[in-house]
């Protein structure tokens, strides 16, 4: 048991996966000798050698294509896209190939790859280092999408993702890499060490994909969140003094609908929050599902608190970020509604 940052949790998972399975290989831009621009692959090349951990050309499409081919051979590639904003050159190989391969080959060929990418804003990264593209991938049948919110989950979910026989998009909230962030830009940065979910067992453990976690039980309103917003939701609940049930989805696809439905049927109210742009964001799917499955239990409209439908503006991160104030206002509307 050691207090770890998110980066260390991810690094630990990679070390374990590579140690356990000689077919796991790691490659991507700057991941080799350097250990990745966020240090998530630190030490892997030294430990497992250049043949299993190496730098890749700057070609996200080529990286994913190579991973598809390696998967067909029988390897389990774990590739890093340096920022989720740079995953678009790989969309064809992800959508047309990795996601479709099992289906189109009648199950003969598969693509057991994990694609890791830091996502989300809050580090003054501007529009090309802050994006949250999850909804593009959750719309694609054949892909799984996972987003951890703390070091403990990061390790357990990443191990499950790597061992999963289907392609998994593993998005890492970069704002949480070195400490939790609740959306309060003025508060001093807190380290993970003070957070219970930073206790990461050395032993191997897995968190099954498709299982949400209720991080704060409550009766007044259900809050559906993932990644960075898990912390914002808890801060907002505390600030508003509203008895929120905060659900950390952890896996967006496959989704743990049962947990969501049970919670909303109990509270009768639902607020959804994500950092991605609103229109056709994952919150749209959640809202559609909740009203489909809980219509007769809903006492107020389902609220969506999200990034605005603009690029992520470098200087207006605070105004763009769906922080505790905006979320808090939505919580109040939700509990006061009807």
């Amino acid at each position: 048991m050691a207090a770890m940052t998110m980066i260390q949790g991810i690094n630990a998972a990679l070390h374990e996966a590579m140690g356990k399975d000689g077919d796991v290989v790691v490659f991507g831009e700057d991941v080799g000798y350097f250990g990745g621009v966020f240090r998530c692959t630190e030490g892997l090349q030294r430990k497992f050698g250049r043949h299993r951990v190496f730098d890749a050309p700057i070609a996200e499409g080529g990286i994913v294509a190579a991973a598809v081919g390696m998967g067909v051979y029988g390897l389990r590639p774990v590739v890093e896209i340096q920022f989720a904003d740079y995953i678009y050159p790989a969309t064809d190989q992800l959508i047309s190939e990795a996601a479709r391969l099992r289906y189109r080959s009648g199950g003969e060929f598969t693509s057991p790859m994990t694609v890791r990418a830091p996502y989300g804003g809050g580090i003054f990264g501007g529009q090309t280092h802050s994006q949250s593209p999850e909804a593009i991938f959750t719309h694609v049948c054949g892909l799984k999408t996972v987003i951890p919110s703390n070091p403990y989950d990061a390790k357990g979910l990443l191990l499950s993702a790597i061992e999963d026989d289907d392609p998994v998009i593993f998005l890492e909230p970069k704002r949480l890499y070195n400490g939790p962030f609740d959306g309060n830009f003025d508060a001093p940065a807190t380290p993970w060490t003070d957070h219970p979910d930073s206790d990461v067992p050395d032993k191997t453990y897995r968190i099954p994909l498709g299982q949400a976690r209720i991080v704060r039980p409550g009766a007044a309103v259900t809050v559906l969140v993932y990644g960075t917003m898990v912390h914002v939701a808890q801060a907002a609940a505390a600030a508003q003094g509203i008895d929120c049930e905060v659900v950390d989805l952890r896996t967006l696809l496959p989704l743990d609908l049962d947990t969501i439905v049970a919670s909303v049927r109990k509270t009768g109210r639902c607020v959804i929050a994500h950092e991605a742009t609103r229109t056709c964001g994952f919150g749209a799917e959640l809202a559609a599902l909740v009203q489909e499955h809980c219509f007769y239990h809903l006492e107020a409209p389902i609220e969506r608190v999200t990034g605005w439908d603009t690029p992520y503006p470098h200087i207006f991160e605070r105004e763009y970020f769906p922080g505790p104030e905006r979320l808090g206002a939505a919580l109040r509307r939700a509990v006061e509604g009807a």
Binding site: V25, P57, R104, E108, F109, G210
Partner: protein
């Protein structure tokens, strides 16, 4: 530096359009035997000239000549001839079946049979193939059952792809033949990834990939070449230059400014430009590239210079964009005729044998067709079970798909 001349856009056009007479005199085709044969470990930088020449072994008279000439067991040659003839017969038959409404779509490889058959015979059975939709000859040369191929074309109850793929997008793990994608070029860089994996594991199997000259413009070609060059992936990478991409001339893919083999030079990869209608040339070049790959000397890019004799697919009508009879005028002839001439000349074969072979091929194909149609065609009422539509999206069916399956009434 003002009063400059106005610029103008250059838009390449094919030499001939419908109504005109095709005349390929402008192509300078080096004589058979002219191309030198470098050692398989020759640095790419010392064999750039191979990208501008043309590896040819079979001369007009059917003689095999030059440094690329090599002894090939007559049994292999006869197997090759049979595979090519069978491929052509298969294509004819399946085209007819499509016209009869037994399948939704079909694509022939007429004129390009040597490209696939020679490669299949030059490579090892356990080398992994990443083909396009125009290398059905690979499967046939690997003795893959025609019935199985036809069942895919018919999307019938024995279609191993469960009716999910359009006709001709074959897939066979057993034949080490990768699932053909409808999205052009994607397999090219995947082949390199497979080859890298083989090298990572210290395996001795290599990968071979194919791509059309038109599709070389896609990103995957560049990615495949870059990764292959950087990691010296053990891969044989083939560009099938059949002059056309549907209605678009190879010049629009860049064939006007340089050969497609020349792409290799920029990446520091060995390149060979080969007469794609010459079985001996394709076989020898593939052998050379395979030996280079197995020796850990890295990848080879091979341009197979050929001609798409027939329509792009059953959805296409070439008479709208190219003159009739181009194929008859194609200076590199018909791969089947050329191999036949050689065998006859060597006394290994005769016109009678050939007539008999064609007859047999017809019979084989017809028999396979009868067998395949027992399991239905596109028109049959007995179909695959639609409930299977929800399988294989993921290894295990997630809850939302289970719900949708129920919703669909299954």
């Amino acid at each position: 530096m003002r009063n400059r001349q106005p610029l103008s856009l250059h838009v390449p056009e094919p030499r001939f359009r419908p109504g005109e007479e095709a005349d390929f005199g402008y192509l300078n085709i080096p004589p058979a035997g002219a191309a030198r044969r470098p050692e398989v470990d020759t640095p790419a930088s010392e064999m750039r000239d191979m990208c501008d020449g043309l590896v040819r072994v079979l001369d007009e008279s059917g003689e095999t000549v030059g440094p690329w000439r090599q002894e090939i067991d007559p049994q292999v040659l006869l197997k090759a001839l049979r595979a090519m003839v069978t491929t052509r017969a298969y294509d004819e038959r399946m085209l007819r079946a499509q016209r009869q409404g037994k399948s939704s779509f079909y694509m022939k490889s007429t004129g390009e049979e040597a490209v696939a058959v020679a490669a299949a015979l030059a490579l090892e059975r356990d080398d992994m193939l990443f083909p396009t939709y125009r290398q059905q000859g690979l499967l046939i040369a690997r003795d893959w059952p025609l019935v199985d191929m036809m069942c895919q074309v018919y999307s019938n109850t024995r279609d191993r792809l469960k009716g999910r793929q359009m006709p001709v997008f074959y897939s066979s793990r057993e034949a080490n033949f990768f699932s053909i994608s409808g999205n052009l070029a994607t397999q090219f860089s995947q082949a390199v990834g497979w080859a890298m994996a083989s090298a990572i594991k210290g395996d001795d199997r290599i990968a071979a990939g194919w791509i059309g000259e038109g599709a070389t413009a896609e990103a995957d070609f560049h990615h495949g070449m870059t990764f292959a060059a950087v990691y010296r992936a053990p891969a044989v990478l083939n560009i099938v230059n059949n002059q056309w991409a549907i209605s678009t001339t190879q010049a629009i893919a860049g064939g006007e400014q340089a050969t497609f083999a020349a792409r290799a030079i920029g990446y520091g990869v060995a390149g060979l430009r080969v007469d794609g209608n010459d079985f001996f040339a394709v076989y020898a070049a593939t052998r050379w590239a395979a030996a280079r790959a197995r020796g850990n000397y890295g990848p080879t890019l091979i341009e197979l210079f050929t001609y798409r004799a027939d329509a792009h697919s059953t959805s296409d009508d070439p008479s709208r964009y190219r003159p009739k009879g181009e194929w008859e005028r194609w200076p590199l002839g018909d791969p089947i005729e050329r191999l036949k001439t050689h065998l006859v000349r060597r006394g290994l074969w005769s016109d009678e044998d050939h007539a008999k072979l064609m007859e047999e091929a017809q019979t084989t194909v017809r028999a396979a067709q009868q067998e395949a149609e027992k399991f239905g065609t596109l028109q049959s009422d007995t179909r695959l079970n639609p409930a299977t539509m929800f399988d294989d999206v993921f290894r295990e069916m997630p809850p939302h798909l289970q719900r949708q399956k129920r919703e669909a009434g299954f």
